[in-house]
């Protein structure tokens, strides 16, 4: 197997006294779509922010290797310039910044035809959207698609997509799944955080997060099955949320040492 594009080693993060990530280990290969599953609060988005280097998400332990380089202490900008980017679950708004200019800011090729093509890739007509500001007048679904177009135009080595399917209509879901596949076919690996089977269908591999750590990695089918068998009954197994200690999670999912 080729050297992983992304290798996460024993990554741990505490915030405000809470253990958010616990010795996370994960690899993503170049050009693959890697699905990341898990219940709400399992640490998926926190892992995404930590990988991107967001403020307040500096890990307490562990290492992040990207394209053969230790990026654990690099800034967001430095990581982005190495080819790593993130599409937030709730994209930011930019008052006064036209969609076309926003896409061009990070695009590998800011030629207007490429920018228009990126919008078309998310099924947004360029004639309608290029000059519109990325502001409150856009719906949540439109902003999510523009966020994806921005990542697509950037053509990074690895795109972390945090629930690109949430808040979008069913028809759009197919467009987004196709775009994720297209990104991978063009050489961008994708770490795809999702709850949707339709999205997982385009993944090559997948992992399951539980209680702040990765408890299973395998094919999408294996991971989905593991998720359904072991994770969904958590409420019955352990009673009311918040979840119990990780040792009890380990018991439930049948592994001796979570994160290994």
């Amino acid at each position: 197997m080729a050297e992983p594009l992304l290798r996460i080693e024993n990554l741990s993060l505490r915030r405000e006294g809470y253990e958010i990530l616990r010795r996370v280990n994960l690899t993503v290969q170049p050009g693959e779509v890697h699905g990341l599953l898990g219940l709400n609060g399992s640490g998926k988005s926190s892992l995404a922010y930590t990988l991107m280097g967001c403020a307040g998400y500096a890990p307490d332990e562990g290492r992040i290797w990207f394209a053969g380089q230790d990026i654990t202490r690099l800034s967001i900008t430095e990581r982005a310039r190495l080819g790593l980017t993130l599409a937030w679950q709730e994209p930011a708004r930019f008052e006064g910044l036209p969609v076309g200019a926003y896409l061009a800011l990070g695009a590998r090729d800011a030629d207007p035809s490429r920018i228009a093509a990126a919008l078309e890739a998310v099924a947004l007509p360029p004639a309608v959207y290029l000059k519109r500001p990325v502001n409150h007048a856009l719906s949540g679904g439109e902003r999510k698609r523009i966020e994806l177009a921005s990542v697509f135009a950037m053509r990074p080595k690895l795109a972390i997509l945090d629930e690109p399917d949430s808040g979008v209509d069913t028809l759009t879901l197919g467009d987004i799944a196709a775009l994720v596949r297209r990104m991978a076919d063009q050489g961008t690996a994708v770490l795809l955080i999702t709850h949707r089977d339709e999205m997982l269908a385009v993944a090559d591999t997948a992992s399951l997060m539980c209680q702040g750590t990765v408890v299973f990695s395998g094919s999408p089918d294996e991971t989905r099955a593991f998720y359904g068998r072991r994770c969904r009954p958590h409420g019955e197994a352990f009673g009311a949320q918040p979840w119990p200690l990780a040792e009890r999670v380990a018991l439930a999912v049948g592994v001796d040492d979570i994160g290994r």
Binding site: A55, T77, R79, P91, F94, G106
Partner: protein, 330 residues
């Protein structure tokens, strides 16, 4: 307010003006302006460099009068009652030297029922120790509509003082819209002072945008007197300050008549060691009037910043994109 009906005398351009005119237009172009609008024969234009009128092109319905002052120009700009001026009237005020004073005393008389838009360009590309004083009296007649958009370019040095002051009177049913933009080049010291009185069913909207850097100091003073029944007014202030810049915004809205409606909206972004202060004053003298205000002063939105950095922009560039976006938004 000047209301005399003395015969109008066309302005003769100052002698030897051509080279200075071209240099001013070049500076204007470098500041991002389109000099062709100042040459368009069908548009009214008035170009003043220091205390010299370099060009004055009138169109039917728009008359200019000007006299030279030791340190500037006194101008009267009149729009005839009922005139509907199709193209914007372009006013260009500037100085090419690095030092000096330019004082513009301007009377705007917008006749009843007239409609006109002014675009004022103020260009001081080499300012090192320069003062630009604008003292305007604006009268918007009954049922008239006046738009006045003023943009500044000050060059990179910050050695300029800008003191725009206006006393505005909006008659019954009149409409006055003004915007002031100082987002290109350094601000220097800005003392913006507009006082607007609005009669019954008149409308006044003021938008002020500025971007202070270095040791720039911005003081914005806007007062709306909603004196007539049904008068409406809005102030919209967008300020960004970074480095060691200081901004002080004082907005006052008075609801002095039945059904008067006023709103003040101020957003400021602060970075580094800059300081922003906002003082809204709401004064209501009639129990059927209503005046509201909202103000937000804070840092650059964190998610916006991180999103742009995740696309490869460094922090400074990302902040600049966000601030300029706020300053150009409606």
């Amino acid at each position: 307010m000047t209301t005399d009906k003395t015969p109008h005398r066309p302005i003769a351009p100052a002698p030897g003006w051509a080279a200075e005119y071209e240099a001013l237009l070049e500076a204007y172009s470098q500041a991002g302006g389109d000099p062709s609008v100042l040459r368009a024969p069908k548009a009214a234009t008035l170009v003043v460099s220091a205390n010299r009128v370099l060009a004055a092109n009138e169109v039917p319905g728009v008359n200019f009068d000007a006299e030279t002052l030791p340190d500037g120009v006194r101008a009267r700009i009149a729009v005839e009652p009922g005139a509907q001026i199709e193209r914007p009237v372009h006013l260009c005020f500037g100085m090419l030297p690095a030092e000096g004073v330019q004082r513009i005393e301007a009377d705007y008389e917008i006749g009843a029922g007239a409609r006109v838009e002014f675009i004022a360009h103020c260009t001081f590309p080499n300012a090192l120790r320069l003062k630009h004083i604008m003292d305007a009296r604006i009268h918007v007649g009954p049922g008239a509509t006046m738009q006045y958009r003023e943009s500044h370019y000050h060059g990179p040095h910050g050695g300029i003082e800008v003191l725009p002051k206006a006393q505005v009177t909006v008659d019954a049913g009149g409409r006055f819209f003004t915007s002031f933009n100082l987002v290109q080049g350094r601000v220097g010291r800005l003392e913006f002072d507009y006082d607007v009185r609005v009669a019954e069913y008149g409308v006044a909207e003021m938008s002020t945008k500025a971007y202070g850097q270095g040791d720039d100091h911005l003081r914005v003073n806007e007062t709306l007197h909603l004196d007539g029944e049904g008068a409406r007014g809005l102030t919209k202030t967008r300020i960004a300050v970074r480095d060691a810049a200081v901004s002080e915004v004082y907005t006052t809205a008075e609801g002095n008549a039945p059904a008067a409606r006023g709103h003040m909206d101020c957003t400021e972004i602060v970075r580094d060691a800059a300081i922003a202060r906002n003082t809204p004053i709401v004064l209501v003298r009639n129990d059927r009037a209503q005046v509201t205000h909202e103000a937000s002063i804070g840092a650059v939105n964190h998610k916006e910043l991180e999103t742009l950095m995740a696309r490869g922009l460094d922090e400074d560039a990302a902040v600049d994109v966000i601030i300029r976006g706020m300053l150009v938004s409606d």
